[in-house]
Symmetry: C2
Subunit: 484 residues, 2 copies
C-alpha cells in the first residue's frame, strides 16, 4: 500500500513534470489537459469552528477520530487563514479567490448578508465553480450559501449545477421575541437547550426552490452528507467539484438523535462530532469507490469561534480572541488537505489561505486564471505535492472594508484593533503598529514594535504595494430591501 502510494506519487510527479515542460514550450494549451487525469475537488467548510476544536488541534473533550485520521493521512496545516472573520465575506473570498472588499462582499455597516438584504455576490465575479465548469467539471454546492438569498444570486446562478442547502445563517429568520438588550445572547448562553426548530424560519432550498421551511436543523448535517454522497455517486464519470458547507457548529446548535448527548463537550461537542462522523462517511465513500486517489479534499471553516456565545461557541485553542476580530483566533483555522497517493502526509507550518484554493485547483484542473482582475490567491502545489515552501508570504486581515493587520512571514503588524459583539466596540489605531512574531508567540502576547522598527517598515512597504493595487468595490452588504 505504502509502496503503491509512493509509486503513484512518483508517477504523478513525472506526469506533472512532463506537463509543465510541454506547457512551457507552448505545445499544449492549458485547458487541453486530459479529462481523465483531472482531479476531483471537495471543499468541506464548517461554520464558526475554532482553531482548537478538533482533537488533532488540541481539544481535550471533542472526539474527532475521522478528521484526526484525515490529518494523519494528509496534511495538517497550522497557519491557514480565511479571507474574513465573519461568514459572508469569508465565503466570498473562498469562492472568488479574491479579498471580499474587491467584490463588494465587505462592509463597515453590515457584517454579513441578512434575509432582508437587497444584494448578493455580483455576477461579474467568477466563482470557483464557474472557473472549473470551463474545463468540464460537474459542480455542486451543498449546505450554507450566504452570498445572496434571491434567486439570481443562488448557487445555480453562480456556476453550480446543483444546490441543496440554506441561503444564509441558521440563526436568521428568528421567530422568537427577544427582550432586553442582551436578548440575542441569552439565546445561546442561557436558553440554548430549549430552542426549537421552529424558532428559526430558515428555508431549505433545492436548486432555486424552497422545499422545507423551517429547515429541520436536527438532521441537516446528515442530509447534507446524504445529498453529497448521492451527487458524487451520480457524477463520478466527469471530474467534479463539491462545495460542502455545513451550517454548523454556528448557533443554534442542533444534533440528530443519534448524536444528542454523546459528547463530553456538551451540545457543541455533539454537533462537531456529528460533522466529524459525516466527514468520515465522505472519506469512506471515496476510498470504497476508488475515488480517493484522484480527489483532493480540503476541510476548514469560515472563521473562528463565536466566543461571545460562551459554551455554545467553540475554542481558538492557544490563539487570541475569535470570530469578528483580526486577532489570530478570528481568522486562523484548522485546515486539512487529504488526497491519498497525491498529497504527502505531514504537518505544514507554511502560510495558506482559502483564496489559494481557487489558484491551486485551477492549475490542477488546467483552467487558465482570469487575467482581467486582481486575484489574491497563490498556487499551493509546491507545498501540497513537492514538499517545498509556500509561495505565499503575506496575509491581509481586513475587517469590513478596512485593513486592520498584515502578516509578513512570521511577523504580524496590527494597525487597528477593535472589540466585537459589545455595544460601542472600542477601536484603537496603533502607531507604531503592534508587532508580534506569530511563530514564536502564536498567542500574540508580546508586542515587539519597540524592538523591530525595521520590520515594521518592511511590512509598511508591503502594505503600500498592496494598497496601490487595491480597487474596492462599492459596499453591497449594507443595502436592505424596502419593506412592502
Amino acid at each position: 500500500m505504502h509502496l503503491l502510494e509512493k509509486f503513484q506519487l512518483q508517477r504523478l510527479r513525472f506526469i506533472r513534470t512532463i506537463w509543465f515542460g510541454l506547457l512551457s514550450l507552448g505545445i499544449m494549451a492549458q485547458n487541453e489537459i486530459n479529462q481523465a487525469e483531472k482531479p476531483n475537488f471537495i471543499i468541506i467548510f464548517a461554520d464558526d469552528l475554532g482553531y482548537g476544536d478538533l482533537g488533532s488541534y488540541g481539544h481535550p473533550t471533542i472526539h474527532t477520530p475521522n478528521l484526526d485520521r484525515m490529518a494523519m493521512e494528509g496534511q495538517k496545516w497550522t497557519n491557514f487563514y480565511v479571507g474574513a472573520s465573519v461568514c459572508t465575506p469569508s465565503r466570498a473570498a473562498l469562492l472568488t479567490g479574491r479579498l471580499p472588499v474587491r467584490s463588494g462582499m465587505a462592509s463597515n455597516k453590515s457584517r454579513v448578508l441578512f434575509p432582508n438584504s437587497a444584494n448578493g455576490l455580483p455576477h461579474e465575479e467568477i466563482t470557483l465553480a464557474e472557473q472549473l465548469k470551463t474545463v468540464g467539471y460537474s459542480t455542486a454546492c451543498v449546505g450554507k450559501w450566504h452570498l445572496g438569498h434571491k434567486e439570481e444570486y443562488l448557487p445555480p446562478n453562480h456556476g453550480f449545477d446543483y444546490y441543496y442547502g440554506i441561503p444564509y445563517s441558521n440563526d436568521m429568520d428568528l421567530t422568537r421575541k427577544l427582550e432586553g438588550p442582551t436578548g440575542y445572547w441569552d439565546l445561546w448562553t442561557k436558553e440554548y437547550a430549549n430552542l426549537e426548530i421552529s424558532d428559526f424560519n430558515v428555508p431549505l432550498i433545492r436548486n432555486t426552490t424552497i422545499i422545507e421551511r423551517p429547515a429541520d436543523q436536527r438532521t441537516i448535517t446528515k442530509r447534507y452528507t446524504d445529498e453529497s454522497i448521492q451527487w458524487i455517486t451520480e457524477n463520478r464519470e466527469k471530474p467534479f467539484f463539491l462545495y460542502l458547507a455545513y451550517n454548523l457548529p454556528h448557533v443554534p446548535l442542533f444534533a440528530s438523535e443519534e448524536f444528542m448527548g454523546t459528547s463530553k463537550r456538551g451540545l457543541y461537542g455533539d454537533v462537531v462530532e456529528e460533522i466529524d462522523h459525516n466527514v468520515g462517511r465522505i472519506m469512506r465513500l471515496l476510498k470504497n469507490e476508488g475515488l480517493a486517489d484522484n480527489t483532493i479534499v480540503v476541510f476548514t471553516s469560515d472563521n473562528g469561534p463565536w466566543i461571545k456565545t460562551e459554551i455554545s461557541g467553540g475554542s481558538a485553542g492557544l490563539l487570541r480572541d475569535g470570530k469578528g476580530t483580526t486577532w489570530e483566533g478570528g481568522m486562523r483555522e484548522p485546515c486539512i488537505f487529504w488526497s491519498p497517493g497525491k498529497i504527502t502526509p505531514k504537518v505544514v507550518m507554511e502560510l495558506g489561505t482559502t483564496m489559494d484554493l481557487f489558484s491551486t485547483f485551477s492549475k490542477q484542473a488546467g483552467a487558465p486564471m482570469p487575467t482581467d482582475r486582481e486575484m489574491d490567491g497563490v498556487d499551493l502545489a509546491p507545498v501540497l505535492f513537492d514538499n517545498e515552501e509556500s509561495p505565499r508570504s503575506a496575509v491581509y486581515y481586513y475587517r469590513g472594508r478596512d485593513l486592520y493587520a498584515v502578516r509578513v512571514g512570521p511577523y504580524k503588524a496590527h494597525f487597528i484593533t477593535q472589540e466585537v459583539y459589545v455595544p460601542n466596540p472600542k477601536r484603537v489605531e496603533h502607531n507604531p503598529p503592534l508587532l508580534y512574531n506569530l511563530d514564536v508567540d502564536p498567542s500574540e502576547r508580546f508586542d515587539l514594535s519597540d524592538e523591530f522598527p525595521e520590520i515594521i517598515a518592511a511590512i509598511q512597504e508591503v502594505v503600500r504595494k498592496h494598497n496601490s493595487k487595491m480597487r474596492k468595490a462599492p459596499d453591497l452588504l449594507a443595502l436592505k430591501e424596502k419593506k412592502k
Copy 2:
C-alpha cells in the same frame, strides 16, 4: 502487522484473564508471575512542558513528529494530571504513588528543594524503583532527580541500580549576579539568548559521584538518551524500569548545535524538538531490538508551562494559567502511553494521574501493593488494555500543603485560588467554591456554583472522606542547611 498486533493483544488478554482467574483462586501468589512475561517500563518525564506544547496537542509551530507518532500508535490522554504544579512535589508523587503532602515533599514555605536544602525524600517512602526491584526488575534513573541532592537521598539510595543526571533544577547554582527586583525574570525574558553554561554551576552525577560541573546543558538531552539506550541494551535480559527525566524545557534553555535555530518557535521550540527527536531514538531502539511489544512507555511532564518566563516558557493551550497554580494549566499535562501490541491506540478522555503509574505498573509486574500506608493511585489497566472506564473518579489539587481544588468527574471546585510568581501573590478563599464543568468548559471560564449547589455538596463530601484519611507528614522542604 495489524493482524499480528490484534492476535498478540488477544493472546495478552487471554493470559491476563487466566492470570486473574488463578489469582482470585489463591493458587498463585501475586509475585510469582513469570519473569519473561513481565513488561518493561519507561517513564519519560519532561520538565515544565505545557499541555499545548506538542503538535498532537495543538501547538502550531513546534514540530514533534516522534511524539505525534507515539500518540497515534498509542493512547493520547487528555485528562491526565500530575501530583503538584511544581517540580519536587510532582516528582515525589510520581515515584511514591502518593500525594506529596504525605511524604513531607510539600511545603508552604519553600516550593521545591534547593541546593542548600537539608532534606530529601525520606527513606520510609517506597519508590516505584524499590517496588519493582522486589520482583526482579533492573532500575535506572537518568536525568533530573530533585528529591534530595545529598548522597543519602540520591537515586542509588532510593531503589535505582543506576543514576546519571543532575540532582536539582537546571536553573539553580546560579553564578550570575542579579540586580533589581525583577533580576531573575530578566534572565528568561530579556537575556536568555546570552546565557552561558557556566552561569549555572549545576553538577552532573553518575551514581553518587560528580563527573562534570557545570553540566554541559547544551548536550544533556542527547547524553541522557545515549545513557538510556546503553543501559537498556545492557539490561534487556531482566525486566527493567527506566525513569528518564529530561531536565528541559525548564529554563535555562539550551539546545545542541544540531537543533539550535531549527524550530520556528525559537529556542523553546528547538529544545522541545530535540527532546522529541530523542524520544524517537528510544522508540526506534525498542522497535529494532524487539522490545516494543513488551515495554510500556509513558511520556508526560512534571507540571505546566512557566508562563512568567514569557517566550522562554511553554503554552498550556486552551487551559487556564500554568506552573505553580491549581488551575488546569498548572497540573494537566500531555500524556502518551505507548506499547505496540499491548495498548489499544485511541484518544483517552478518562481521568489519570502520575500517581496511578505506581499502582498500574505494580499490578503488571506482579508486585503486591504496600498495605501499611495510604496510596493515592489506581490501576489504570482497564483503560489501557480493556477499553473500559478509569477507576479514578477524583483529582486533588494541592498547592504546598493545602488542598486548593478537587475534581470529581467533570466538575472541579476551587476552594482557594492564588496568584503565583508575583510579589505578595493574592490568595482568595471561595465560599461557595468556584465550580467548573471541565469537559464542557476546559478553559475554566464559566463559574456554575450558583446553579449546582448539590454538586458542590457532593464534592464537599468527597473532600471530607479524603481529609479523614489524610495524614500529613512534617514539611521537609523548608529546612535549609546551616552555612559553614
